[in-house]
């Protein structure tokens, strides 16, 4: 029987030959991811329900990556990290990335694949809605709450509904200056913030395979912004190589049947796409960047699991090279690996850090979620008034970056950097035409 990739992974995880959308099934979990915001509550549920001496189901399958509230004086944030440390010690967990030590990584969704914890064909649950990022490597990955995570921690299983699949066939090649971020913002603009509610979003086609792994992650990362349960892509040779470089663990990839029955199918030729923004206060408020040139911005923000990967900074640097920003521009590498890349990767013969310094961006922050979700009052880049922000992050809800009065425009790194240079929302293609 023909099946989507999500159905195939779920069937195997349920020890069945096949599954049907709408069925509620118990599946076995390969990786449980948690962080400092939801980890303590997950541990609390686990111990309340299963006892203080309960053991986690498999210590090699639990990954804890603190990333949200790291560089803050907030006492509870520190207390929460201590709860994680204490649990890791008692349970003797090997995959814990402790802040303040050499093990610290940064944003969990960028670190998880970098550390080799994402493998094609596997089932990943995380206490964070952007866990859907990991579908870019052909895993079934989705966000869950503390109670479900506490259950997984104890049993290694979870009762889930098999989602219907929406298939997105992406053909054509992206024009210069147009990125994965523009693809996903366009799709969310078309189908709406609940357009994929309860559904798997499967992305197939040559426009997907021609993207880098990081760009694929940008697309799957925002599946949740359309309400999707997961985003997923076939693991091609590029994906398999990415994974093999990062782990010795064996894995068995599965692949979607391109003609499997699905709930709906969407066909896009991405060569018609253009740089865009999502205007406040929903990720579905799609607007071509070229039509927003009347919007002045107060700051630019490049960071997060969506837009803080090394390729995002390379894109920003291609625009910022030899130019100066007109508004404060905040740069937050997602992980330590990305931060190191800022020193070693070059654009126009100069390291990214030099490009950004010469462009007069703010000093680069240490890797973490930072102002992507507002956070404690002393968070780097947090808004405090009615700032208009252009940001490479994934959510522009009221108050998302701190202040309820600020306005967030979501955009690609090209568009964010071009806007930072001009001081108003700008179409980055003009910069390419000017021969950057």
């Amino acid at each position: 029987m023909k099946a989507t990739l999500t159905e195939k992974i779920m069937a195997r995880a349920a020890n069945r030959d096949s599954v049907k959308p709408g069925e509620n099934i118990w599946i076995n979990v390969d990786i449980l991811l948690t962080h400092d915001v939801c980890g303590p509550g997950t541990i609390g549920v686990f111990e309340r329900e299963l006892g203080e001496n309960a053991q986690v189901w498999d210590r090699n399958k639990v990954v804890i990556i603190p990333d949200h509230y790291i560089f803050t004086a907030d006492e509870k944030a520190h207390r929460n990290i201590n709860i994680l440390r204490d649990f890791v010690k008692r349970q003797n967990l090997p995959y814990y990335y402790d802040p303040g030590t050499r093990d610290y990584q940064g944003v969990c969704h960028v670190a998880l694949p970098q550390l080799g914890h994402v493998r094609p064909g596997e089932v990943i649950f995380g206490t964070d809605s952007h866990t859907c990022t990991h579908g870019a490597l052909g895993a079934f990955a989705t966000g869950i709450g503390n109670t479900d995570a506490g259950f997984v921690l104890g049993t290694g299983k979870l009762l889930v509904k098999v989602p219907e699949t929406l298939r997105f066939n992406l053909t054509g090649s992206l024009p210069q200056g147009v990125t994965a971020k523009d693809i996903i913002l366009r799709i969310i603009g078309d189908i709406g913030v609940d357009g994929a509610n309860y559904c798997a979003m499967e992305f197939l086609g040559e426009a997907v395979t021609s993207l880098s792994i990081e760009e694929r992650m940008t697309i799957c990362n925002m599946a949740i912004e359309a309400g999707g349960k997961n985003g997923i892509m076939n693991p091609d040779e590029k994906a398999l190589e990415y994974v093999r470089k990062r782990t010795d663990k064996p894995f068995e990839p599965l692949f979607a049947d391109a003609d499997a029955p699905v709930a709906a199918e969407y066909n896009y030729d991405v060569s018609e796409f253009e740089p865009c923004v999502a205007a406040p206060h929903l990720p579905s408020n799609y607007k071509p960047a070229s039509q927003c040139q009347d919007i002045k911005i107060d700051r630019a923000y490049i960071g997060s699991c969506t837009g803080g990967k090394i390729e995002d900074f390379i894109m920003a640097a291609q625009i910022l090279k030899g130019r100066k920003v007109k508004v404060p521009t905040f740069l937050v590498p997602a992980t330590v690996e990305v931060a190191e890349g800022l020193l070693t990767e070059k654009v126009g013969g100069k390291a990214l850090v030099e490009v950004f310094a010469a462009a007069e961006c703010e000093d680069i922050a240490p890797p973490s979620c930072a102002a992507c979700l507002g956070g404690p009052i002393d968070t780097f880049g947090r808004t405090s008034g009615n700032e208009v922000v252009i940001s490479t992050t994934n959510r522009n809800f009221i108050g998302r970056m701190g202040s309820k009065d600020s306005q967030i425009y979501l955009a690609s790194p090209f568009t964010a950097a071009a806007s930072a240079v001009n001081g108003y929302i700008s179409d980055p293609r003009a910069f390419f035409a000017a021969n950057i």
Partner: protein, 182 residues
């Protein structure tokens, strides 16, 4: 058919579409851990703290509780984050049920898994019919909601999640079905 011991009666708080988790519980309060009892109550006092100031206050400053037992909303309630703090802060504030046209998947799931609030689905756009402060009553079988004028509005059947609701959440359900021991 799922049912609870008695009808849910109380005043309603009415919101429209796409009420996201940053409005329900802003990130600055996510340093609170819901399984720590004092922090559970604190989370309740911050329920809906992300709403713009032009909205009527949701919780009472003194008690940290809400005078509204029922939340009524439009489409896609609870979109955004997987933070379980969202259904928990509503439950901790004293909300018993949310009645929306539709839910974002993770909020719905977290509401059921925790047993904190009943996420019920309306068949009509009730946020255009009810006004904040109106009295309402949800039948014990969770099939209808009655407005203060006595009109009865149908709710959608809770469906496949009924056994999980009845068991009080995912752990209760797993114990009942023998998935995990008592």
């Amino acid at each position: 058919m799922s049912s609870i011991s008695e009808p849910i009666r109380g005043r309603v708080y009415v919101l429209e579409d796409n009420i996201d988790t940053d409005l329900i519980i802003p990130a600055e309060y996510l340093n609170l851990v819901p399984t720590i009892p004092e922090e559970y109550h604190k989370l309740g006092s911050y329920a809906m703290a992300g709403l713009p100031v032009s909205f009527p206050p949701f919780t009472d400053k003194e008690t940290g509780k809400t005078p509204y037992a029922i939340m009524i909303a439009g489409r896609n309630f609870g979109c955004g984050s997987s933070r379980e703090h969202a259904p928990i802060c509503l439950g901790a504030a004293g909300v018993k049920a949310v009645v929306a046209q539709s839910y974002a998947r993770i909020f719905f799931r977290n509401a059921i898994a925790t047993g904190e609030v009943y996420p019920l689905e309306s068949t009509e756009r009730l946020c255009d019919i009810f006004k904040t402060g109106d009295e309402a009553e949800i039948a014990a079988d969770l099939s209808t909601i009655k407005d203060s004028g006595g009109t009865v509005h149908q709710l959608k059947p809770v469906g496949a999640v009924a056994p999980v609701i009845e068991a009080g959440g995912i752990f209760g359900y797993a114990r009942k079905t023998g998935m995990i021991g008592n």
